[in-house]
């Protein structure tokens, strides 16, 4: 049996056109390649520091 209240919580307000710009700016576009690059840089930094 579907609980109306519980299901209603899953519905969020939709972004309006005026809010689109802010939503785009606030969107986190970090992807796996960024994480990979970050990890590589970190590793390189550690290697250089060890040297």
């Amino acid at each position: 049996m579907i609980n109306f209240e519980e299901e209603l919580k899953k519905f969020h307000p939709s972004l309006e056109v005026e809010d689109a710009e802010e939503a785009i700016y606030n969107q986190d576009l970090t992807d796996m390649t960024d994480l990979l690059i970050k990890m590589v840089k970190k590793v390189d930094t550690e290697i250089e520091s060890e040297e």
């Binding site: 109306f4 899953k10 939709s14 972004l15 056109v17 390649t33 590589v40």
Partner: protein
Amino acid sequence: MVCYQCGRRLSENDFCTGCGADVSLYKKILSASNRLYNDGLEKATVRDLSGAAAVLRQSLKCNKNNIEARNLLGLVYFEMGEVVAALSEWVISKNIRSQKNIADDYITMIQTNQSRLDTINQTIKKYNQALAYCCQDSKDLAVIQLKKVLSYNPKFIRAHQLLALLYISAEEWDNAKTELHKCSEIDTNNTITLRYLLEANNMSMPEEAVKGSGTKKKASREAIRYQNGNETIIQPGKTRDLKGASALFNIGIGVVIGIAIACSLILPAQIQKVKAETEDKARAVSEQLDAKTATIDEMEQNIDVITAENERLAAEVAEYESAEDNTAAVDNLLMASSVYLQNPEDLEGIANYMDMITLEEIAQSSPAFADLYESMLLAAGKPLGDVCYEAGHTDYRAGDYDKAIPNLLKAFQYDRENGEALLYLANSYRETGETEKAKEAYAQVIELFPGTEKANRADDYLVEINTTGN
């Protein structure tokens, strides 16, 4: 693929030929992104929009610069009615690659049509308002708002789902299924849609839920149900044949019901008809009775008139008869007068005629008759009276009072001076029991012969009679 470090085009080696960076993992990530994009494209092709969106988001998580995935995601969002999300993706896509990017065309298509943009904005506002109504438990208002939203943007899946949820909450299963079917047409494999549809199907047809929700067509004893698009077709199933006693019983019940209905419908009308006929007959009889009564009254009046006429005529007849009687009396008087004139000594002859004249006739006679009669009495009354007195007195002495009375009566009638005759007459009346006549005679003696011995004796006899009578 280009190197993440130097931007040089990568070869099939696991390192960059330009900077020597290890790109094996990087290549795998980009390959995964592309693979996910392909998967998303395949899902989008079969209209599994929510699946495609999820996969494309994963693709972008792997590689945010996957322009095709981002553009496709924008398209998917747009098809799902999420216009702002679509614009966001296309704007980001355009920022990543500003040239030769179809996202530019998509953005231009939306932004150049200002009315369409306003409509989109209104749609989003109304959807948010509807969601607020739901949170405030104003479900009716929410339904109204959502219907408006869907009229502007029929592909807004979330609006359809929210409306379906409201219908499910109100147990309007058919309406909920209608909305969910519309969702399915847009996004075939949406999890929320499928879950709501399962719930609506289970609640509207519980027996299907027991067997499983996969079947669309169900043959039942009572009816066959199946879905045809948005319509539910219900076909009557086979009916049970009546057998034996149950058939007879059902027929009997039907007959009883039919008779009851006939009685309730027909009988009152018949009763009314009979009543009306009875009333008509009663009215006719009453009218006849009235006529008869009137006739009787008339007859009675006629009878009264006839009776009065009869009495009048009888009186006339009596008068005529009395006149006849008087004629006879006159004849007798004339004959008596004639005999006297012929022979005054013929007392017997005179008496024969004079005796025939009664006192009543004398009382009813004319003055001329009375005068002649008086004259006859003066002339021959005393001798006639003596004769009658002798005869009457003889009968009185003999005790034959009945025979004495007429003679004594005649004696006094002829001779008014003969008090003895009157006294003996009264005595005779007394002896024969005619008390009243005796009283009258005694009173007459006292009146006509006062102070005489006859009057005294009459008085004594009168007192004696009165004392005896009391």
